[in-house]
Amino acid sequence: MDSQRRAALREGGVLAVLLAAGMLGPDTARAEWNRAAFDSKSVGETLSALGLGGAAASQAIALEVPEIAENGAVVPVKVSTELPRVDRIAVLVEKNPTMLSAVFTLPADTEASIVTRVKMAETCQVIVAVRSDGKVYTVSKQVKVTLGGCGG
């Protein structure tokens, strides 16, 4: 009990010093943008850089994407799963110059349900990885792209 109190005081002291030094803003919980993950050129490397290595394919993730995307600039992606304690969801587009589109970090009271829109350079797999209870699961679906959304 007493040692816990001392530890708490000590940590409080360290926090106060960091705050005073301006090293911690109000958004301390905000993670740094993960450059390594966004620069990775393979699915495996990207997932490892996100702490999502060792993924196993799973039918328990619902991934809704169009079969055919006439406009690769705007492809809706909907991910949801009933898997327990999901704290991270990553969306990857296999053949984009930057493979990783987005990674979501979800606290306990947020449901594993995300909708967004991605660009797709060409027909390929959309890959989703979900971390549930410390284990990583993936699902992928092909989207046919008739007009690429990453060119110019």
């Binding site: 705007v74 930057t98 990674v103 970090t105 979800l106 009271d109 947020t110 909708v115 110019g152």
Partner: protein
């Protein structure tokens, strides 16, 4: 500063669904303009959502999120009248914060 986000937050059966439309060019850095010059990458890198003062969603975006990013997510614990705040930062260091009241 960027242009304002459109945020809708509605609670049904104790789950609050938030829908957000951000205004941002989300340039990939791979596109060329009419003169053939490369358009530099300009994109939102991080998004944070709060329910009152509690973080309910954090996202890191890459360049392949569509222009004017759309995002929907769901959390438990919101009631009508509560505040939902969205905040983004882009790779130029620009940022924007907007809020909406749960209905």
């Amino acid at each position: 500063m960027g242009d304002p986000m459109k945020i809708r937050a509605a609670v049904h059966a104790s789950v609050t669904e938030v829908k957000v439309l951000m205004q941002h060019p989300m340039e990939t850095g791979f596109r060329k303009d009419d003169t053939g010059a490369a358009v530099p990458a300009w994109f939102i890198t991080e998004v944070t959502a709060k329910h009152n003062d509690r973080v309910v969603m954090q996202a890191m975006f890459g360049t392949s999120i569509s222009k004017n990013p759309y995002l929907a997510f769901r959390f438990k614990g919101g009631v009508p009248g509560d505040r939902v705040t969205l905040h983004w930062v882009d790779n130029h260091g620009d940022q924007r914060s907007d809020e909406s009241i749960i209905v």
